[in-house]
């Protein structure tokens, strides 16, 4: 399987911008060349046309010889048409006939080196590229015009003699060098300029993109360099452009949340490992020692009893973990009829009455008989009972637990054992317990440290909120845990 190499934004942009810029330059250069070619050719053609007209102007219909055209150009005007190196060419016909009125000496009696055009423009001219007799590239113009008659005054009578105008066709050909040479120079200059500008474009595009995309590269490097096993609280990148600011802030927010979640998971894993492995270690160590030194039957029976207590503890941990898992994955069941709180609280008090009596605790219940909330009875009972059990465990013997029951609200207050503000940050985490009650068999009470986590999950699942506040006064410190549901 071939790995697909990820494309680079910078490379793609470099290519696209470079090709785009070069294309624009090429089109611009070609357009400029074409405009110059048209302009130069038009000027050249105009010059040819004026030459043709000049030749036509010296072609006169002869009044004394009707049907005859006299070509009367001065010799110095025809210098360029003489047979010499690189001459120009012309030929004049009676229009519509092959009868030649005149032709340049450079043609040396030969016919004009191009076929007559089939059509002419509105001004009677037609222009085309031709190959000159000496092999040069040339351009020829045909001009269909009139040889006007010369007016002759009779010296005897003074009468003016004239004749009818005669249509003639004038053709002039000259080499294109006057057009092609400047065009070659322009083309060479444009090509050189284009290459230079193309190279400049490549360099400028690369530099601009490199500099412009530097913040993106820095952000990418910072994200790529993240060590997933040791996530930082955030990316230490300052001065990012506005376009990336939101992304950086969201990444930092995600990192913060992920780090916090990982830290919670690490604490949970450590606590879970301790809670689950310690009783197994207790059991194995107990059995190893007893098997190695069985001693008396009484010793063995005592060890088996202890093993049973440890087994019960392990079962309690497993059950509580399952309850926590269920509470975390429970879905809120719509409860059309509000559940009255009073019977739920009374039932919970009844269930913990033995523990309350053992610790000689006093319970004060401030109960609104009509209090109810839209939570299913099972979840509500679990919330109240877990909070009560927790309060019983953390209240010193002989202490007081206050319960306040209002519509959509349940609160419990007690004087906790050595609880601090910092403990409030962790008390809803799974397996969290104060030192005094952390060891199951030491305390003699089955307290896994999952009760508040279960309450928090159930409260959240039922749309409620749980909060814990520590109030210190002269009477001592009191912990208030309150669950509120929306009305």
């Amino acid at each position: 399987m071939t790995a697909i190499r990820p494309y680079s934004i910078r490379t793609v942009l470099e290519w696209r911008l470079t090709l785009g810029s070069i294309s624009v330059l090429a089109v611009g250069g070609l357009t400029l060349y074409a405009v110059m070619r048209v302009a130069l050719t038009a000027e050249f053609d105009a010059d040819l046309l004026s030459k043709a007209r000049a030749l036509a102007a010296v072609s006169r219909a002869e009044p004394d010889e009707p049907g005859h055209v006299e070509f009367e150009a001065a010799a110095e005007a025809l210098t360029e048409f003489l047979p010499r190196t690189s001459p120009n060419y012309f030929q004049i016909w009676f229009d519509g006939h092959d009868w030649v009125v005149a032709r340049s000496g450079s043609l040396a009696g030969e016919d004009f080196p191009a076929e007559r055009p089939a059509h002419v423009d509105a001004d009677g001219s037609a222009v085309m590229d031709v190959a000159l007799p000496d092999g040069r590239a040339g351009r020829a113009i045909w001009l269909r015009t009139i040889a006007f008659p010369e007016e002759v005054s009779d010296p005897l009578t003074g009468a003016i003699r004239t004749t009818n105008p005669i249509p003639i066709l004038v053709a002039v050909a000259t080499d294109r060098e006057a057009v092609d040479r400047p065009l070659r120079i322009v083309a060479t200059a444009l090509l050189a300029l284009g290459v230079a500008m193309g190279l400049g474009t490549v360099v400028i595009v690369r530099l601009c993109l490199r500099r412009g995309l530097r913040p993106l590269a820095r952000l990418g490097s910072a994200v790529g360099a993240l060590d997933v096993s040791r996530l930082p609280a955030g990316l230490a990148i300052e001065n990012v452009p506005a376009e990336l600011e939101g992304m950086r802030d969201r990444i930092n927010e995600l990192l913060g949340r992920t780090s916090a979640a990982l830290e919670r998971e690490r604490r949970f894993s450590g606590a879970a490992a301790h809670e689950l492995r310690t009783p197994i270690a207790e059991l194995l160590s107990l059995l190893d020692v007893r098997l190695r030194w069985p001693e008396s039957e009484a010793h063995c029976i005592a060890s088996m009893r202890e093993a049973r207590t440890i087994g019960e503890w392990m079962a309690e941990i497993a059950d509580t973990l399952l309850r926590l898992a269920r509470s975390q994955h429970a879905t809120t069941v719509a409860c059309p009829d509000p559940t009255p709180l009073a019977p739920v609280v009374r039932k919970a008090l009844e269930r913990v009455s033995q523990s309350v009596a053992q610790k000689r605790l006093h319970t004060n219940v401030d109960l609104d008989p009509a209090a109810a909330c839209s939570v299913d009875p099972g979840s509500l009972g679990s919330i109240v009972e877990n909070l009560l059990s927790n309060a019983i465990i953390y209240t010193p013997a002989g202490g007081t637990i206050d319960l306040v029951v209002r519509a959509h609200e349940f609160a419990i207050r007690n004087a906790p054992v050595d609880l601090t503000e910092s403990d409030l940050l962790h008390m809803f985490e799974p397996f969290w317990r104060k030192d005094e009650v952390r060891t199951s068999i030491t305390s003699g009470t089955l307290h896994v440290g999952l009760g508040l986590s279960i309450v928090q999950s159930l409260a959240a699942q039922s749309g409620g909120e749980i909060s814990a506040v520590l109030d210190s006064s002269d009477a001592g410190t009191r912990l208030s845990v309150r669950v509120k549901w929306p009305r």
């Binding site: 894993s269 450590g270 490992a273 301790h274 809670e275 689950l276 492995r277 310690t278 197994i280 270690a281 207790e282 059991l283 194995l284 160590s285 107990l286 190893d288 020692v289 007893r290 190695r292 030194w293 202890e306 440890i310 030192d435 005094e436 952390r438 060891t439 068999i441 030491t442």
Partner: protein, 227 residues
């Protein structure tokens, strides 16, 4: 050998301490970090078995503070945390070994023996003094290849003296390494145990190797001079 067990689980405290004592180690137990540190700092322990998650002070804090005082007492970390960073952290702080819960008691005992041996500078698991061979791992003494039946206390004495072969060991030092705080020690308990030990070794054909340094204590060597 005297071991301090710092562990908050009462069940583990009881079973480990029983196993160690039956293996000849005087074992003191404490259930929280602060008390554990206080006792470990006295320096009278050959090995400290230290849990990490402890009430009042984390086991890693106990270890850090213990090492900060310059203590070189061998420490075996005992914990439920098994991740590499946890182990590395414990060892970097100066733990001599690391054992993850749950564990077999035999493994715990072997590790305690190994780090105690290293703590006393003995690389081998057996120490030979003349015809006497002290098998640290097997908790056995042999004279010319024949096993000598010793009580855990007697073996503890010969083991400790073997670790300090040629060096006089005071009665108080022997007491502190052989008896934990729960032991009822009479004024001549060490002398009685040494006497019994000598008798058993002599019965096995061993020449006198444990010599009395009058007014001080005992020394184990192959020289025959007895004061």
């Amino acid at each position: 050998m005297r071991v301090l067990l710092v562990e908050d689980s009462r069940s583990l405290q009881a079973s480990i301490a029983e196993g160690l004592r039956r293996s000849g180690y005087a074992t003191d137990i404490v259930g929280d970090g602060r008390q554990g540190l206080r006792l470990a700092e006295t320096g009278q322990y050959d090995v400290v078995i230290l849990d990490i998650m402890l009430p009042s002070m984390d086991g890693l804090d106990v270890l850090r503070r213990l090492r900060d005082t310059g203590s070189t007492t061998a420490v075996l970390m005992l914990t439920a945390r098994d991740t590499v960073p946890d182990r590395v952290q414990g060892l970097q702080l100066g733990a001599d070994d690391y054992l993850v819960k749950p564990f077999a008691f035999d493994e715990l005992l072997a590790r305690v023996q190994a780090i105690a041996r290293r703590a006393h500078g003995a690389a081998k698991s057996v120490i030979d003094v003349g015809p006497l061979r002290v098998d640290i791992i097997g908790r056995q003494a042999h004279v010319d290849g024949r096993s000598v039946s010793l009580t855990p206390r007697e073996f503890g004495i010969v083991e400790y003296l073997a670790h300090h072969v040629g060096t006089p060991v005071s009665r108080a030092e022997l007491e502190s390494h052989l008896y934990d705080e729960y032991a009822k020690i009479t004024s001549n308990a060490v002398d009685v145990a040494v006497c019994s030990l000598r008798a058993k070794l002599k019965a096995a054909g061993c020449p006198p190797l444990i010599h009395t340094r009058r007014g001080f204590g005992y020394v184990l060597n192959t020289k025959t001079r007895t004061e």
